[in-house]
Amino acid sequence: MQLHSTRLALALLGLAALILMIGMQSAAAQEAVEAAASAAPAAPAYDKGDISWMLVSTLLVLMMAVPGLALFYGGMVRAKNVLSVSMQVFVTFSVLSVLWAIYGYSIAFTGGNEFFGGFSRTFLAGMLDAAGNLKPAATFSKGVYIPEYLYAAFQMTFAGITACLIVGAFAERMKFSAVLLFMVLWFTFSYLPIAHMVWFWAGPDAYTDATAAEAAGKSAGFLFQKGALDFAGGTVVHINAGIAGLVGCLLVGKRKGYGTMAMAPHNVPFIMIGAALLWVGWFGFNAGSNLEANAFAAQVFINTFLATAAAVCGWTFAEWIFRRTPTMLGAASGAVAGLVAITPACGWVGPMGSLVIGALAGVVCLFAVTKLKSALGYDDSLDVFGVHCVGGILGAILTGVFNNPALGGTGIYDYVAGTWGFAGTFNQVISQLWGVGVTLLWSGIVSFICYKIVDLVIGLRASEEHETEGLDTVEHGERGYSL
């Protein structure tokens, strides 16, 4: 294995160097070309309040991943694997950030077909105008822009954290080299296209009249066209990662001793810190997805807050009633479940709808990680499926329900007419199910193939001996604690 990994690393490093050299050329070259082509205003008057908020939002999502998720997951495994899990999060996030700059952003967020974008922004090229000013990216308001670099940075953090979420499913037994290779493949063939399908569109300025709107609509991603509402990434992030996790833990197999040995979390306070930082950071995720600091951001914000609080209550009290005692791990898990479920909904519902979504998410995800999991018998180490996939599906569907203005929801904005409407609960839920179904299928199948490839090339699973000793010393030559 040692040799394998080393060769892999060398290859990756060499490749990276090569690509970068090409990139720097092409970036410089393309800029001149692109500058002319861009349809958006040459030097828009950005609002500094928007920029301030989006800078903050971006760093908040970074904070969700590291240290947030790294701790949340790190605390949940046994002490002998704490570094292994944190390391997988830390390095996956870094590698994908680099790849995002090289080709990820371009494939996800430039025009192409309904499933994949193009290559015009590879190496982040073409984001400066001829005068060296930062070109704009669209928001959800006509005539309001943020610098495209900022949009690319914000979305970069989404790509990174989504992949990191998967780590929890096969924690404590997968080889580090296998994790990294899988992540690169999955990012390229699952994350990028699904982000494109759900989020890519021409921007509000294109919706000038009915004809233009139709044309614009057709240039958008596949699920965007289906009318699936996903404000901040319920499908792209949570369902996508959750199903990839389930497939992973099924393929890699159960941990040695699962079901017979105690596998208690080794550091519950770390879990608490992690969950709390996820809560805090998630405002960047959700209210940041509003892309501007207008008044509506406040609604997204309070929705996110209340859903989380309600989910903590939901999980904790349900646990108290049905499982004897309320636990810290439960409260922390409840917070995450609520955050997951409100993610697609946060910009489409009202505060009372958010309370209901949160409370339900707390109870449903508790059910998922207890009854459902033990019924199906898979070993999803840190419940990526039970919390992110189940919570994501619940949130996606309830978005369709509570979007209803009669339930305090916002309805949907018609950029041409300038009015708010509502598609009807049934129609909207159908749209939502399109989003859920396509994501489950696409990510499920792509994940399966990626795992199989990795298994063939370098093998997925650490040896039994290594698993017993713990991945920290074996794979990373370190111990978490010397107290």
Binding site: A262, M263, A264, R323, T327, D383
Partner: protein, 112 residues
């Protein structure tokens, strides 16, 4: 010389130490251990998993004492360590063939 080993409830440590000091035992060595016995443990819940934790935190103390005071020491420490509830622990006595104080090289009863 005898080596007295006692397994006691952790929160009794201070009392026990005091009690044996009163008899004149100057040094003891203490180890945190886990005990399994008649005393029942508790249940822990972590999401889907429920574990019966049978072991209980106990404190092991070791004292090397002169034969002459063995009974007295056992008596004293048992008295203060006793709560009367299951799990109070045990005392074991073992013969010591040799004792050395590293600092001085003194042996036997001089060494403790």
């Amino acid at each position: 010389m005898k080596l007295i080993t006692a397994i006691i409830k952790p929160f009794k440590l201070d009392d026990v130490r005091q009690a044996v000091a009163d008899i004149g035992v100057q040094g003891i060595t203490v180890t945190e251990v886990q005990g399994f016995g008649r005393q029942r443990g508790h249940t822990e819940l972590y999401r889907g998993a429920e574990y019966r934790v049978d072991f209980l935190p106990k404190t092991k103390i070791e004292l090397a004492v002169d034969d002459s005071i063995v009974e007295q020491v056992i008596e004293a420490l048992s008295n203060v360590a006793r709560t009367g509830k299951v799990g109070d622990g045990k005392v074991f006595v073992i013969g010591l063939e040799q004792t050395v104080r590293i600092r001085t090289g003194e042996m036997g009863v001089e060494a403790v």
